[in-house]
Symmetry: C2
Subunit: 207 residues, 2 copies
């Protein structure tokens, strides 16, 4: 396979326009689009080809509401850790689109899968969770290519989410994603628009 | 930004043909190609826009040789954990291309960056390392788009690598990458070709 300049420019556009979306339309995602997004995950890399990701579609309304309450509690607790103007700034940020997003997905990692037979994770077992992260990033980019938005909600208590979703006790919550069509097409990142954190260049050193 | 079907098909090709490359040509990567790869990392997502990745280019020959020795020791130790035919199978795998790859990059994570002001990582501080993983995956895909190969070496002792590279003691080794032009263009994944681990479908459940 020889890649062409169009592969580079298309990927660059996807990377430049990928967003952590927090404003969703309530429009449902078409089943054929969801099927493509699900299939994209099978293309992600994993240590020893172990594919340790376990994915929960959260569609039960009571479960969704419990997750939203968990976010609200943890977001308030986070706000309380900031003082004065920083607290005001924090409270003005919209950090999740859980209520409107038509699809909620919880990504877990199986910490000891048979697949892969342990290869590549003897000294760095964390590479299992890292594999799940690459599956999530694959899903995120593929969503963007289909004009679907993804928002990653990390302001949650992982153990509480496990209880709500009643999953295998060994699984580790890796990420909770909101998925849906973005409400705005000009979504400059919230943290830029509101001055929370502008871009810093990567640190590179030589050895 | 409205994405077109070509964005989807180009991304799918990149994902399908991304490989963990272990057979590199010793041909140098052109500086302008390396510069594009470095720039791609600045497009990766990170929790609170914290950009916690710290990247070390390992070009000193003595350091490269020390890393290779570290891999060889850990690879032998891993082989010793397998028995009988599985051990023979393991020893027949080529798991790294450290000797030939012209570029070695060590990715570290700063565990408490000022950038981002703690946002999004109060209950899940591991999202910092997850950000570095997405930067690595971005670099990996962008490399593929430029016909450059990446191989991730996780059969290493992270503390030993930190000692060899003499970096900030707080930094956490997240990944060690070999980068270069692939030697073969038909590189079916090594673990498939040699029957170590074939693909399994992702596990999806509903809640």
């Amino acid at each position: 396979m020889k890649f062409l300049p169009s592969h580079e420019s298309d990927l660059r556009e996807l990377l430049q326009w990928r967003r952590d979306v927090r404003n969703f339309s309530t429009r449902e995602i078409e089943p054929e689009v969801l099927a493509k997004l699900e299939a994209s995950i099978d293309l992600a890399p994993s240590v020893g080809n172990s594919r340790p990701w376990r994915i929960v579609r959260v569609s039960d309304e009571e479960n969704r509401q419990s997750v939203i309450r968990c976010f609200e509690q943890q977001n308030l607790a986070a706000a309380c850790d900031y003082k004065d103007e920083t607290q005001t700034e924090y409270l003005a940020l919209k950090l999740a689109g859980l209520k409107d997003a038509p699809v909620h997905l919880a990504f877990f990692t199986e910490p000891d899968p048979e697949e892969g037979r342990g290869l590549g994770r003897r000294t760095m077992p964390e590479t299992l969770v890292y594999s799940t992260i690459m599956a999530i990033h694959t899903f995120w980019l593929y969503s963007r290519a289909l004009n679907v938005g993804v928002g990653w909600v990390s302001i949650l208590d992982p153990e509480e989410i496990k209880d709500i979703l009643d999953v295998d006790n060994n699984w580790q919550l890796t990420a909770y994603l909101c998925v849906g069509y973005p409400k705005h097409h000009d979504d400059k990142p919230e943290l830029h628009r509101k001055g929370w954190q502008h871009d810093q260049s990567a640190v590179w050193i030589d050895r």
